[in-house]
């Protein structure tokens, strides 16, 4: 299972977890698996067909927009990072 690391603003939708595991051989499958367990994440990450434009997704530190997007292959040891825009200067 791939490891999915959640940015702080997404954690409330995943029971407070900082990282979770999810199954799938492509990014699209991994995310779908993630939403089955944490439905609230879907609204934040992928409300429609595509990943929302204010969330950046990295597979092994590479931006998936420059890989194959949702078709990007994901291996069991890969790490996916979900990084929404952050504004706080506080």
């Amino acid at each position: 299972m791939a490891t999915v690391r959640l940015a702080p603003v997404l954690r409330a939708s995943a029971g407070g977890a900082k990282q979770v595991s999810a199954e799938g051989s492509t990014l699209g499958e991994v995310l779908a698996n993630l939403y089955e367990r944490f439905p609230a994440l879907k609204e934040q990450i992928q409300p429609g067909e595509e990943v929302s434009r204010f969330i950046n997704v990295y597979v092994n530190d590479q931006d998936v927009r420059y890989l194959q997007g949702l078709q990007t292959n994901v291996a069991p040891n890969d790490t996916i990072i979900l990084l929404p825009a952050m504004a706080g200067g506080m």
């Binding site: 702080p8 603003v9 929302s52 927009r65 825009a85 952050m86 504004a87 706080g88 200067g89 506080m90």
Partner: protein, 393 residues
């Protein structure tokens, strides 16, 4: 001068050819036209050089001349013109260089005094005053900064967007480092809940404008720094006018509309923006250098809707966290000003305080970016209104 010194000089004069100021001037002019290749060395002491020197000269004081000359003039065939104040020390130094194997050593007859007396031009170098040399002595000891680097810092103009959690530590350290002009734009008033992290303010500044409280703290630390407070919000009407006056912008705002507004204006005016943000135990920063790396819109083409942007008062943050991120922003500003190191362009550095981990993600320029891509029109992009339900801190 004793008899022996006079004899010593006489011998030196027989050995080392002398050129008049007019001849040296001619050689330098021809060098400018690439017809002749000469190296002009000022061998006087630093305090003499600091007053004035001949344009184009390099400064190698006589005390260390033998040790430093080869690094500067590796070719022993090179024509080397030495000068001092009156033309005597340069004769003696000339004999030394000859002993070291330099074949074409010349002494400027009458030295710098005769040069000036002949009406030729000179340069007065900028130097630090005695107080500055003392205050910034730890910078002067670092070769990558040094006196010229410190002068660059003193000439630099940095704009802080916000005198809050990020702007406070960034501004405080930039002031300590001797950044000559610091602009601070913040329309907010200091609240007690700010003092947990916004170290430019103190218990006595509660109720004052942040921009003015920050100015007072900075000026108590370092009177070299000119602080320009702006008690206003950045908006479409003032953004270009304000950022035009600065070399580097430190973005420590707490809301999306300002970040997009700043991004688009910074691209139009080609100003680097050092972007930082914090949330609870985590922070991130990167440098947006227009056309050198991605911009904010390359990363996030548009802001998130209100429901997904808990960026405001309810978010909470560990007080020390913006300290870390703000000081990293100040560090990046200094690197950009001095032109040293590898700036965080195209790299997002993230810090997780609980894990005690730094991570780095590569960021790419989007060729289709609406702000900095091939067919971009940053001037035509939308601005946004605050999406936060609660007022920003």
């Amino acid at each position: 001068m004793g008899k022996a010194s006079r004899e010593f000089l006489r011998q030196a004069r027989r050995q080392v050819p002398e050129w008049s100021p007019a001849q040296v001037k001619e050689a330098l002019t021809q060098q400018g036209e690439a017809k002749q290749d000469v190296v002009l060395i000022d061998i006087r002491e630093k305090h003499e050089w600091n007053e004035a020197y001949i344009p184009g000269a390099i400064h190698l004081p006589r005390g260390f001349l033998e040790f430093d000359v080869e690094e500067n003039v590796p070719d022993k065939e090179q024509t080397v013109i030495l000068y001092c104040a009156g033309g005597w020390r340069s004769l003696l130094a000339g004999t030394t260089l000859q002993q070291m194997g330099y074949k074409n050593v010349i002494s400027l007859a009458g030295g710098f005094g005769q040069w000036k007396g002949s009406g030729f031009g000179f340069t007065m170098p900028r130097t630090l005053n005695a107080d500055q040399a003392k205050r910034y002595s730890r910078h002067l000891l670092v070769p990558e900064v040094g006196e010229q680097g410190q002068i660059k810092l003193l000439d630099a103009r940095v704009l802080l967007l916000g005198a809050g959690g990020l702007g406070s530590p960034a501004g405080y350290y930039l002031a300590a480092a001797g950044i000559g002009t610091i602009g601070i734009i913040d329309a907010d008033i200091v609240d007690e809940s700010n003092l947990q992290r916004q170290i430019l303010h103190n218990a006595k500044s509660v109720g004052k404008y942040k921009a003015e409280s920050a100015r007072d703290t900075i000026q108590a630390l370092n009177a070299d720094v000119k602080v320009i407070p702006y008690v206003e919000r950045l908006d479409e009407t003032n953004v270009k006018r304000i950022i035009a006056d600065y070399d580097v912008i430190i973005d420590g705002t707490d809301n999306f509309p300002t970040r997009y507004l700043l991004n688009d204006a910074a691209i139009m005016l080609n100003k680097p923006v050092i972007h930082g943000s914090v949330f609870r135990f985590e922070g991130q920063l990167t440098v947006f250098k227009p056309y050198d790396g991605p911009c904010y819109r390359c990363l996030y083409p548009e802001p998130p809707p209100a429901a997904l942007a808990p960026s405001c008062a309810e978010a909470g943050v560990l007080g020390v966290l913006p300290g870390i991120v703000g000081i990293l922003q100040a560090t990046e500003a200094i690197k950009l000003i001095l032109g040293i190191g590898e700036p965080l362009v195209g790299r997002l550095l993230t810090y997780d305080a609980l894990a005690g981990e730094f991570n780095e993600l590569r960021l790419f320029r989007d060729p289709k970016c609406a702000a900095c891509g091939e067919n971009a029109h940053p001037e035509a992009l939308p601005t946004y209104t605050e999406v936060c339900a609660l007022p920003a801190q």
